[in-house]
C-alpha cells in the first residue's frame, strides 16, 4: 500500500514539471508578450521595456526558466498584481473556505445521491425511479448561479432560515486558527461561531452540490441496475441470502466502483462551480478570487492557481484509486 502511494506521489513530480513548463511558455506567449497583457494595449514602448526589465522578461529564455523554476521550488509564486500580497498567502487565506464548502457540497451530493440512485434502481420503472430521473435531469441542466440565486432568495431573503452572504455573521467575533472556520469554532470552544460558520455553508453547499448530486444519482442508478442483474446476485438470492446482505455486500459494494470514479472527477466541477456560487453568496473562497484574477489579468495568481489545482486533482485521484482497493478486494490482489 505504502509503495503504491509512494509511486503515485513520485509520478506527480513529472506531471507538475510538465505543467510548470507549459505555464512558463503560456505566460510568455500571451498576445504582445506578458508586459502588454499586464499594461494593456496602449502601453508605451518605454513602459513595456521597464516592465520587461522588472520581471526579467528581457533575459535569455533559459536563464528565465532557471529563475522561474528556482522560485517555484522555493515556494515563491510571486505577488498578486491586484492585491499586492504574495500569491501563496492569498491562497492560504482563501483555500480553506473553498475546501469547507466543497466538503459540505460533497457530503450533500454523496449522502443524497447514492441512496436516491439506489432507490431509483430498486424501483426501476416505477414512480420513484421516474421522479429521481427527472430530479437529476433538472439538477444537471440548471445553471449553478441561477440555482444559487433561487436558493438564496427563498431560504435567506424570504424565509430567513439561512444567512445570505459571507462565512460568518458580521457581529460574531470569532478566533481563527486554521482558516477552516467551523473547525476553528470547535477547537477554540466558540461553538456559536462554529454553528454560525456551518449555517453559512449550507446554502452555497447545496447550490454547489446539486450538479454532482445529479450525476451521482444517474451513475449509481445505472451501476446498481447492472450489478443487480449479475449472475452472482441471482445465485445469492437463490441460495436464500438475506435481502439486506445482498444489498450491502453484493450489489452496493460492486456498484460503487464507477460511482467513486465519478466522485473523483466531480472535484474539478466543484472548483468551477465554486467560482459562481462564491460570487452569489459573497463567500471569500478561491473561486471568487480566481474570477477576479481572470478579469484583472493577474497572471501570477492564475499561474499559481493552475499548479495548485493540478496538485489537488492528482491527490484526489490518488485517494480515489486507493479507495478502489478498499472497496474491491480484487484490486488489492493485483
Amino acid at each position: 500500500m505504502l509503495r503504491v502511494i509512494g509511486k503515485r506521489l513520485a509520478l506527480l513530480v513529472p506531471t507538475l514539471f510538465g505543467l510548470s513548463l507549459l505555464l512558463f511558455f503560456w505566460v510568455r506567449s500571451l498576445p504582445g508578450g506578458p508586459a502588454t497583457a499586464l499594461l494593456g494595449e496602449r502601453a508605451t514602448p518605454e513602459r513595456i521595456a521597464e516592465v520587461n526589465a522588472a520581471y526579467g522578461f528581457d533575459r535569455p529564455i533559459v536563464e528565465q526558466y532557471v529563475t522561474y523554476m528556482g522560485r517555484l521550488l522555493s515556494g515563491d509564486f510571486g505577488v498578486s498584481i491586484e492585491t499586492g500580497r504574495p500569491v501563496l498567502e492569498e491562497f492560504a487565506l482563501r483555500f480553506p473556505a473553498t475546501i469547507e464548502l466543497a466538503i459540505v457540497a460533497l457530503i450533500f451530493a454523496i449522502g443524497v445521491g447514492i441512496p436516491l440512485g439506489y432507490i431509483a434502481a430498486k424501483y426501476y420503472g416505477k414512480a420513484a425511479d421516474h421522479v429521481s430521473v427527472v430530479v437529476s435531469l433538472i439538477g444537471i441542466t440548471i445553471p449553478v448561479f441561477f440555482l444559487a440565486f433561487i436558493l438564496k432568495w427563498v431560504f435567506a431573503v424570504q424565509l430567513g432560515w439561512f444567512p445570505p452572504d459571507g462565512r460568518q455573521d458580521s457581529r460574531i467575533d470569532a478566533t481563527h486558527v486554521t482558516g477552516f472556520w467551523v473547525l476553528d469554532g470547535i477547537l477554540t470552544g466558540e461553538f456559536d461561531a462554529a454553528w454560525d460558520a456551518f449555517m453559512h455553508l449550507i446554502l452555497p453547499g447545496l447550490a454547489l452540490g446539486t450538479i454532482p448530486l445529479a450525476i451521482i444519482v444517474r451513475i449509481t442508478r445505472a451501476s446498481v441496475l447492472e450489478v443487480s442483474g449479475a449472475d452472482y446476485v441471482r445465485t445469492a438470492r437463490a441460495k436464500g441470502v438475506m435481502e439486506r446482505t445482498i444489498r450491502d455486500r453484493f450489489v452496493l459494494r460492486n456498484a460503487l466502483l464507477p460511482v467513486v470514479t465519478t466522485i473523483g472527477l466531480q472535484v474539478g466541477l466543484l472548483i468551477s462551480g465554486a467560482v459562481l456560487t462564491e460570487t452569489v453568496f459573497a463567500f471569500s473562497g478561491i473561486g471568487r478570487f480566481l474570477s477576479q484574477a481572470i478579469f484583472s489579468r493577474d497572471f501570477p495568481v492564475l499561474q499559481g492557481f493552475i499548479l495548485f489545482i493540478a496538485i489537488i486533482y492528482a491527490l484526489i485521484n490518488l485517494i480515489v484509486d486507493l479507495s478502489y482497493s478498499l472497496i474491491d478486494p480484487r484490486v488489492r490482489v493485483q
Binding site: L38, L39, G40, E41, R42, R47, E50, V51, A54, Y55, G78, V79, S80, I81, T83, G84, R85, E90, L93, R94, F149, K152, W153, V154, A156, V157, Q158, L159, G160, W161, P163, P164, D165, G166, R167, Q168, D169, S170, R171, I172, D173, H176, D192, A193, W195, D196, M199, T279, V280, F281, A282, S284, G285, R288, F289, Q292, F295, S296, R297, P300
Partner: protein, 554 residues
C-alpha cells in the same frame, strides 16, 4: 470613485414557512444575541463592492479604499456637508499669501492620533514631506496616484513639483505650506482622503513607505495592511481579506461620536447579492443601487438616498471618423437625442439633464451655455446639409457587464440612444466590449471606434478634474486637435485665484458647447439603500460620508 445593480420581492413567506423558520433559526438568533450582547444596535454593517486596495490612503485611488479611509482619517480640509465645497476640518482656518503660493493653516487644538500621539504642525509637515519624498514605486501612478497627478513632482525632480516646503509656525497649531507653482485647486484637493493626516510614528514603525514590487504590482505594506492610524472617529480593528473589515469608535475623538460604535464593511461584489443581503437583513446598507431596484426597495420600506449628482455621462464622438469631423453632423446627433426621455427610462431618480460637462455645483458652470433642443426634423436637415441626406453607418461602442455611478446600465442607454439616432437616418453598427480591460483600451487607446458611452465621477470640486481631463489634450478618445481649446484649459488651470478662474471656465464651457466634441447627456445621481433602522445618513456628492453622523433607530 466608481461601481453597482435589480429584482422584485414576492409574497413567498407563507404563514407555515414563517413558523418553521422561527423554529429552525431560534438557536442561531440567540447565538447572535449572546455574541453581540448589548451593542447590537450600534453596529453598522455596510456592503462594500470589494476589499480596499490598501488602508494607507496616500497609496489609494479607488472608492472602496477611500470609503474606509474617510472613517479612520481626516485631512486639514474637509467638505461642507452635502456640497462639494471645502470646509475646515483639522485646520480651523487658513490664509493665502499675497503671491498666492503660501498657505498658513491654524490647526485644531487637542486632537490626537489613535496611537495617542499629538496631531500638530510637525505632524502636518511630516505628512507633506513624506509625499514629497516618495521614491521609486511610490511615485508611480498605481501607488500614489493623487499626489502624482496633482502635485506632479517629487524631491528628486523638484523642477516639476508643485509643492515646495512646509514650515511649522510659532505655535504648535500653526503651519505654513509653500507651493512652487500656483495651484488654485490646492485647498479643495486637500479634502481628498489621499491627503489625509496620518500618524508620523505609526507610519515609521510599520514601514508605510517600504513599498516593493513593480509599478503594476505594488506590494501592500504592513502599515497599509493592518496599522492605519489617523485622527478620525473610527479606529481600525481587523481586516479579513475577502470577507470583512471592522472599525470601532475612537474614544478620544475630538468631535461628535454619534450612534455608530462599530462599523463592519462586508465585501459583497455582486450587485444582485448586495440587494438580497439587505433584504435578508445581513447588512444595513449598500451603495450604487440599480435604477430598477430603487423603486422596488422603496416600496418594501427600505430607504433610498440619492447623492447630489457629481457625475457626467456623455456620448463621445471620435473625429477620426470622417463623417464626425463635420460639426453639422455632431450637431445633428446632439439634436436627435431626447435627453429627458433617456433619463426617465434608463437613469436613476434624481438624475439631472446635462448641458455641459460639469455638474451645476462645480465652479465655472455656465448657465447661459448654448444648448441644442431635441428636434429630429432639424437634425435630419443638418445631416442633409452636411451631404448625408440618406444618413450613414456609424459604429456605436458601449461597455457590457459594468455599472458605473454615472451609468448603472450601459446596455439600456445604448439601446435608447441607438433607437433615437436610427430615427434621423443613421445606421447603427453596435460594438459591445467588456468593460475591463477591452472597452477602455479600445476607446482611449486606439482609433477604431465611432460614438461611445463614457463618463466621470468627480473627486472634489475642481473644474479641471472634469473638462481638463476630457478635453485638455489631443486624445484618441475624441480624435480632434483644437489648440485654442487646449491652450485655454492650460491657462485656466494655472490661475491661482478661484474668482479669476471662474469666467475662464465659463468661456471654456461655451467653447466646448459650440465645438461639440461629445454630447453631454446627464448627471446621474448615485443612490444608496438602507434598512429602515437607519434614520439618517450624511450623503455627500463627493462621497465624503463619515459614519459618526449616521443616526440609527433603537
Amino acid at each position: 470613485m466608481f461601481t453597482s445593480n435589480h429584482r422584485r420581492r414576492g409574497m413567498f413567506a407563507a404563514a407555515s414557512g414563517v413558523a418553521i423558520a422561527a423554529l429552525l433559526t431560534g438557536c442561531v438568533q440567540s447565538d447572535r444575541d449572546d455574541a453581540s450582547s448589548d451593542d447590537v444596535d450600534s453596529t453598522f454593517v455596510f456592503a462594500a463592492s470589494s476589499d480596499p486596495a490598501t488602508l494607507d490612503p496616500a497609496f489609494a485611488s479607488d472608492g472602496e479604499s477611500f470609503r474606509v479611509a474617510r472613517q479612520i482619517f481626516e485631512g486639514l480640509v474637509g467638505v461642507e456637508p452635502g456640497t462639494a465645497d471645502p470646509a475646515p476640518l483639522l485646520a480651523e482656518s487658513w490664509e493665502q499669501s499675497a503671491d498666492g503660493l503660501s498657505y498658513t493653516f491654524a490647526l485644531k487644538e487637542g486632537v490626537t492620533f489613535h496611537d495617542g500621539t499629538d496631531f500638530n504642525a510637525e505632524a502636518v509637515c511630516y505628512n507633506f514631506d513624506r509625499w514629497y519624498n516618495f521614491t521609486g514605486v511610490a511615485q508611480s501612478p498605481s501607488a500614489g496616484y493623487y499626489y502624482n497627478s496633482l502635485f506632479r513632482g517629487y524631491a528628486d525632480s523638484p523642477e516639476d513639483a508643485v509643492y515646495e516646503s512646509c514650515t511649522p509656525g510659532d505655535s504648535e497649531t500653526e503651519v505654513t505650506v509653500t507651493l512652487a507653482k500656483p495651484f488654485a485647486g490646492f485647498i479643495a484637493a486637500l479634502s481628498l482622503p489621499a491627503f489625509a493626516m496620518q500618524s508620523p510614528e505609526a507610519l515609521e514603525e510599520f514601514g508605510a513607505d517600504d513599498l516593493t514590487g513593480s509599478d503594476e504590482a505594488v506590494s501592500i505594506t504592513e502599515y497599509g495592511q493592518s496599522h492605519p492610524v489617523g485622527t478620525g472617529p473610527f479606529v481600525f480593528d481587523s481586516w479579513e481579506v475577502g470577507s470583512q473589515l471592522e472599525l470601532s469608535a475612537y474614544d478620544e475623538y475630538w468631535g461628535d461620536q454619534g450612534d455608530v460604535q462599530q462599523i463592519v464593511f462586508r465585501v459583497i461584489d455582486d450587485p444582485q447579492a448586495r440587494r438580497q443581503s439587505l433584504e435578508a437583513g445581513s447588512i444595513d446598507g449598500y451603495d450604487l443601487v440599480g435604477p430598477a431596484d430603487t423603486v422596488a426597495l422603496e416600496e418594501d420600506g427600505y430607504q433610498i438616498v440619492a447623492r447630489d449628482p457629481f457625475t457626467i455621462l456623455y456620448l463621445g464622438m471620435n473625429q477620426a471618423v470622417p463623417e464626425l469631423q463635420d460639426v453639422r453632423v455632431r450637431q445633428a446627433i446632439t439634436m436627435a437625442i431626447d435627453k429627458q426621455q433617456l433619463i426617465d427610462q434608463t437613469l436613476p431618480e434624481g438624475t439631472e439633464l446635462a448641458t455641459q460637462f460639469i455638474p451645476p455645483v462645480v465652479a465655472g458652470y455656465n448657465e447661459d451655455v448654448t444648448t441644442y433642443d431635441y428636434d429630429p426634423e432639424a437634425a435630419r436637415a443638418l445631416l442633409a446639409d452636411a451631404g448625408y441626406p440618406d444618413g450613414f453607418t456609424l459604429q456605436f461602442n458601449y461597455p457590457t457587464g459594468v455599472s458605473r455611478p454615472y451609468m448603472p446600465t450601459p446596455e439600456e442607454v445604448f439601446t435608447n440612444i441607438s433607437a433615437q439616432l436610427t430615427e434621423i437616418g443613421i445606421t447603427i453598427d453596435p460594438q459591445p466590449n467588456a468593460w475591463s480591460p477591452d472597452y477602455l483600451d479600445r476607446i482611449q487607446g486606439g482609433e477604431n471606434h465611432g460614438i461611445h458611452l463614457l463618463g466621470w465621477t468627480g473627486d472634489y470640486n475642481d473644474t479641471d478634474n472634469f473638462v481638463g481631463v476630457f478635453f485638455g489634450a489631443e486624445k484618441p478618445e475624441f480624435g480632434f486637435d483644437n489648440p485654442e481649446l487646449f491652450a485655454a484649459l492650460d491657462e485656466a488651470r494655472a490661475v491661482s485665484d478661484l474668482d479669476e478662474q471662474l469666467p475662464l471656465y465659463e468661456d471654456i464651457n461655451e467653447t466646448i458647447a459650440e465645438f461639440i466634441p461629445a454630447v453631454p447627456l446627464a448627471h446621474p445621481a448615485p443612490s444608496l439603500a438602507f434598512a429602515e433602522r437607519v434614520e439618517s445618513y450624511p450623503v455627500s456628492p463627493v462621497n465624503d460620508e463619515v459614519y459618526n453622523l449616521i443616526e440609527l433607530a433603537e
